[in-house]
Symmetry: C2
Amino acid sequence: MGGDHGPKVVVEGAVMAARRDGISSIIVGNLEEIEKLLNQYPESDRSLISVHHASQFIQMDESPGLAIRGKPDSSIRVAFELVGAGKASAVVSPGNTGAIMAAGVFVGGTLPGIARPAIASLIPKGVGATPTVLLDSGANTGCQAFQLVQFALMGSQYACSALGIERPRIALLSNGTEASKGNDIIRSAAMMLSEIEGLNFIGYVEGRDIARDVVDVVVCDGFVGNIVLKAMEGSVGLVIDSIKAAMEHSLRAKFGLWLAKPVLRSVFKDKLDPSAYGGAPLLGLGHIAIKCHGSSKSRAVMNGIRVARKFVDEDVMQQLHTALGHLDSKMGTVDHDGGNGWSRVFEKRTTRGRKEGKGADEINGGKNDRR
Amino acid sequence: MGGDHGPKVVVEGAVMAARRDGISSIIVGNLEEIEKLLNQYPESDRSLISVHHASQFIQMDESPGLAIRGKPDSSIRVAFELVGAGKASAVVSPGNTGAIMAAGVFVGGTLPGIARPAIASLIPKGVGATPTVLLDSGANTGCQAFQLVQFALMGSQYACSALGIERPRIALLSNGTEASKGNDIIRSAAMMLSEIEGLNFIGYVEGRDIARDVVDVVVCDGFVGNIVLKAMEGSVGLVIDSIKAAMEHSLRAKFGLWLAKPVLRSVFKDKLDPSAYGGAPLLGLGHIAIKCHGSSKSRAVMNGIRVARKFVDEDVMQQLHTALGHLDSKMGTVDHDGGNGWSRVFEKRTTRGRKEGKGADEINGGKNDRR
């Protein structure tokens, strides 16, 4: 019922996913409104789709926590309850992100040891390269170092399970690649990450590296991630608009771009359009939840449903569970000697042995966080 | 002597600025090395350029504060001393940003009431629109609310004086436009900004708005600003690379893009290339200082010199001085009643009268900062 375009694009996306991949969906929301939309499609398209009535829904600008508690029959909360009851496998929604998060935590809780889930968005790279996982891309506006560490572990497992990257390169997003860059939280997270055995932590990357084939998983605070994600989308839009505006004055350019149109369309629609990647999972929730862009059209909803299906097929939740369950045994001690230990981490990361000591409980308690 | 390409591009940029606009430069650094580079140009090109020897220089990865104190004859420090002594009007450098900042503060101090200077970068918008001023784009990794307020005031004056925008639209960069978005620091800064008479504060903008014609000055923390700036540059690069790679497989597209090339070049070189805008001023320093991108080529250095000249010609420093001098009388009281006052700020901004009360001193002391 949410998103910028209401139930219309959700119904259309569900029909597309059924047609294309035979995925069955339960559409949760106002029964009457949804059935009216569904009835516009031929019966063959509707055979895999059912509707579950929910009398309430949460607006895009409502306060998530209050709304979830105050609206027990809201569509997003009912959707999670269907998963909790084993009647569905995953939730897909283009609605209010905070509400999806709050409903997910309220109904299904979080994975063991996870303080807050994170949204993992995919950022297109150049032709031929697997997209970059950017997390958190908007769920948490203020993160402690131990949360960034959890995001890194979840992102690594997601890149491995869902994107098929064998040893994903994990980096923290910072204002430079040198060890002296970043802020206290970033530097503290870097220290912890470099101690985790089996994690391919490569240090810091800059903004321009997100879309380059030098990193697979970029970890940041949700405030920064949201701004960066939207700024990158805005840049691509700016390029398209600038080309369009400039060619208005040249017949030659107009003809040239007409000739190049099929190629340009494939670049902008299939490689650079965020809707090509569909949904972003909320990693860390107890149930599978895929958030589609608020401005999602039906294509993005369809792709969100396909991402959810992939999560189920590849058993990503179980793998995340296992990866995080090992947090305790994987995590060594973290130096507290400031600059000294910190530079050692960057210089001798590969040769340094694992130390016994503090585990996930203490780290989750934030005691290793130097903030 | 700094930057990614050493003195070569600086010498070339100075020659280009002399040729094109008759601007005279003093190149500060290793005399022998610079004269060798200069002697490659005909004498007519060199008549406006002199060289001032400095025996030391600061590497891109040195700690700024230590380096400035420890290297009294470093080129950047000597450059500021030439301005301090009245022998030059402005410093232009593609070197270590932290070192430019530290040398600027060390030699010439900051403008009255300014805690830390900010880098103001220009972000291209669509064809026909004045670029957006993004500040701070990298000087300060952790900012308090009162600093963001100072950045907004300086950015507003800069957009007015240097870009000719009469009533610049000022916004804070956030993870959404609703009043509930942002973090404590952002929300606190928004409250203060909405109380300043004469400032056209429009609230929050998202990442995608930076390059859209909805805002003139975008204010953020330097950590976020640096990441966003580089991410946007990276996106434009990604588009170019993707188009290039895709057209490899299509003769038709290749021919089409060849036809469109003059138009595309004008878009990518003149509208979207950051070097077209040259340098970013360090607003808040006592002397004029223009930072060129670390990866600047000669064209960017030339444009940096032209920006410096514009600062001198338009007397931007005096205008900044005046604008900040009025901070005390402009700034009304700031509500401390949390959500209540905060939403009022957003809803009734235009109708709300100014209150008498706390002035710049208290605000600069950070007492109004809710962090």
